[in-house]
């Protein structure tokens, strides 16, 4: 079985190529750091496995995201490395290519976005490049699928065994560096049983102050390297290596460069950017784009479709199921479980699919077009005041979809403290799972201002997140950071297939959850509300969930919650936020949203409804998010802190809103 590792700078189209050469699908976006973990797939109709690794600028990682690639090289043995490069920015892309070529595994370089290069009036002679770099080169334009089949054929026909014998790239480093590399790698070969090319690569990376390699050397007691550390650093070898590589690239590119007849190219990107990144218009445009996104998801497309789906599910489908079950003589117990439990609960959540799809389609569109990097830039100045940078904004926006992916996207942030703060404030971003319950309440209490009320909840979440970030900035003593370097990719005309795949990839988790967690949650709630200490109960007031809810009622009444059913539903929300609305359906014994909304009328006022929504926005993160915080921070302490602090904030804020609101209205 052949394995291919896909590596390259961020934003070169690796994931697009991955999707086109493999059967399976991984998520693509037009901003740095979309691939948050490695993804694998098979090349169509073959056994060749392709691994898509996160984009890296060099093998020396600055972010957690980037360390995935170097760790892959240290622990896995790929047969071929497919190095995807942006042909228009070959100079800096080749800096990484050199590091990969020195590694010794056969490399194929894909010059992607070749059309952008041609448009700039430049072309490279491929045989010259190939000869100088000592590897095979293919040109591609992945967005239009140009050159993809040739690339796939090449990968399938690679005689990997023979290629292995080909020597790795050896640059002429200055004499002193060369000598240091030779001495250390000879000892590594003799005493540590390494292959010459691997030992040479490892030594170069060590000299180059690669943090992961330096730790690796300490861990494996690679004395030939450890003993020379001071010497390498004192001689500033790192800089000499960089200069040699740069000179090699310059000479290679000038030898291969061909000038095409001057093309009169109207720069779409700079025209769009004159508005999007305009110093004054930038921020209003940013707000307008997000307002539009919410309008589309809630008012224009999402909600009307949801309403239709709801009337279908609660009307014909549940009546038909009930009749069907009665006709086959199912027990009343089972009928109740299926109709009032499963169809009402799971179905109730499924009706929100149109809204969630619409929101994710908008996010995918922004990612694919290249807007997200601009958003990071436009918001940087504001984020700076709370000790974060514009890059934190992207994980937070992704958090609107799902906090789990948001927290994982925070891996691209360079400073550990900023990354931790972003992780801790991410759960305050109102994820799509919280939408169903908002929709239900705004339909009941604020029918005329649905989008506005939902938007206010979202903004409240952002405001709480920002305040907490400021608080953390002070207690963690975060200094004004400088590592904020954002690449602005060229705009792409969004492609429907890529957006659809992005939308589906983000939404499928929700659909999947409907079948698993939400299903289990609703069955659990149904059981708890139909069984009590005395066994099966016909009166829900004697059930376990009633007992539990009633016990907690005194704690929740100051924030406006007067019904134990709501409290029980909130508990199930910790499983997954989507479950809250389905639990309510079950607990209030209704099968349609309309009936539930009517029930709410007697239990909440608009003020207490709003206070409840605020509580739902902020209280404990769901299980999946808790798990991700644990894995990303590597500490239980932060998990406990995150749960307790959000509970406290949620209670305090909804208390204030309910008490003050009750006085005013």
């Amino acid at each position: 079985m052949t394995t291919v590792a896909l590596m390259g700078n961020p934003n070169t189209g690796k994931t697009t190529i991955f999707n086109q050469i493999t059967d399976s699908y991984a998520y693509v976006g037009n901003w740095t750091g979309v691939t948050v973990e490695k993804k694998m797939g098979n090349i169509k109709h073959s056994k060749v496995v392709v691994t898509d690794l996160p984009g890296i600028y060099s093998l020396n990682p600055i972010t957690k995201d980037e360390s995935v690639a170097i760790n892959y090289l240290l622990t896995n043995d790929a047969d071929v490395i497919l190095n995807v490069t942006n042909a228009g920015q070959l100079k800096r892309n080749l800096l990484l290519s050199i590091e990969l070529l020195e590694y010794g595994t056969p490399v194929i370089i894909a010059l992607n976005m070749i059309d952008d290069l041609k448009r700039s009036g430049i072309y490279y002679d491929i045989p010259t490049l190939s000869k100088r770099l000592g590897c095979h080169i293919e040109t591609t334009n992945a967005r239009n699928k140009d050159g993809i089949s040739q690339l796939r054929d090449k990968l399938l026909s690679m005689p990997t065994d023979q290629l292995r014998e080909k020597p790795a790239l050896k640059l002429e480093y200055p004499f002193m560096v060369q000598q240091a590399i030779r001495q250390a790698s000879e000892q590594l070969v003799n005493h540590f049983d390494m292959s010459p090319s691997y030992a040479r690569w490892l030594t170069i990376q060590y000299i180059n102050k690669n943090k992961v390699i330096r730790k690796y050397a300490v861990h494996n007691k690679l004395t030939p390297l450890l003993e020379q550390k001071e010497y390498y650093d004192a001689q500033n070898f790192e800089d000499k290596i960089f200069k040699t590589r740069l000179a090699f690239i310059d000479s290679t590119l000038s030898a291969a460069q061909e000038n095409l007849t001057d093309t009169k190219n109207v720069e779409m990107t700079s025209k769009i950017d004159s508005i999007i990144t305009n110093p004054i218009l930038g921020l209003p445009v940013f707000i307008a784009i997000f307002y539009l996104m919410f309008k589309i998801s809630f008012d224009w497309i999402g909600t009307p479709l949801s309403d239709q789906l709801n009337s279908l599910l609660s009307g014909p489908i549940s009546t038909y199921a009930d009749h069907f079950l009665a006709s086959i003589g199912a027990m009343p117990f089972l009928r109740s479980l299926i109709v009032d439990g499963v169809i009402a609960g799971v179905g109730g959540v499924l009706t929100f699919i149109p809204q969630i799809f619409a929101l994710f389609a908008c996010i995918s569109l922004l990612e694919d077009s290249g807007y997200m990097a601009r958003a990071a830039l436009v918001t940087d100045r504001i984020m700076q005041t709370i000790g974060l940078n514009g890059k934190s904004f992207i994980p937070l926006i992704i958090g609107f979809g799902c906090n789990v992916t948001g927290i994982m996207a925070a891996r691209t942030i360079e400073q550990p403290k900023e990354r931790l703060i972003t992780t801790l404030i991410s759960p305050f971003m109102s994820c799509s799972a919280r939408l169903p319950i908002y929709s239900l309440f705004v339909a009941a209490f604020f029918p005329r201002n649905q989008a506005l009320i939902v938007l206010s909840i979202y903004f409240l979440g952002i405001a709480v997140a920002l305040c907490m970030a400021k608080f953390y900035q002070i207690i963690f003593h975060v200094e004004d950071s400088t590592v904020f370097i954002v690449e602005l990719p060229k705009y792409h005309i969004p492609r429907l297939d890529i957006i659809w795949r992005g939308t589906w990839d983000k939404s499928k988790g929700f659909v999947k959850k409907a079948g698993t967690v939400i299903f289990a949650g609703t069955v659990l709630i149904w059981l708890l509300s139909n069984f009590g200490p005395s066994g099966f109960v016909t009166n829900i007031d004697q059930s376990f969930s009633a007992l539990l809810g009633k016990m907690m009622l005194p704690i929740f009444s100051p924030i406006g919650i007067q019904s134990w059913e709501t409290i029980s539903a909130l508990f199930t929300g910790i499983l997954a936020k989507e479950v809250i609305s389905s639990s309510m359906m079950v607990l209030f014994h209704t099968t349609s949203q309309t009936a539930l909304i009517a029930t709410f009328g007697s239990m909440f006022t608009p003020v207490s409804a709003y206070a409840l929504l605020v509580f739902i926005l902020l209280y404990v993160p769901c299980f999946a998010t808790i798990g991700t915080i644990k894995s990303e921070t590597g500490s239980t302490k932060w998990v406990v802190y995150s749960v307790l602090s959000s509970l406290l904030i949620a209670y305090t804020l909804s208390f204030i809103i309910f008490q003050i609101g009750s006085l005013l209205f």
Partner: protein
């Protein structure tokens, strides 16, 4: 607040003082192919000393104002 004159937009500078930057920033700029002596064009400033968009080797990147000041050194 110091106002940045519109006149330096689209002006070319030669990158210098990369050594003065912190290690990660320097490393990232190097990886982007930016080094002492690179040609830098100013594209845009954001208000309140927000980020600056610069262009080097046909690629646009955004950097913090502080970093920009160091990179253009005494040329401003």
């Amino acid at each position: 607040m110091q106002l940045i004159s519109e006149s330096i937009i689209n002006q070319h500078f030669s990158v210098c003082n990369i050594e003065q930057l912190d290690t990660p920033t320097k490393q990232r700029l190097h990886s982007l192919g930016i080094h002492d002596g690179s040609n830098l064009t100013v594209i845009r400033f954001f208000p309140m000393h927000g980020p600056v968009i610069i262009e080097v080797d046909h690629q646009q990147i955004g950097v913090r104002y502080k970093v920009f000041r160091i990179l253009v050194g005494g040329q401003l």
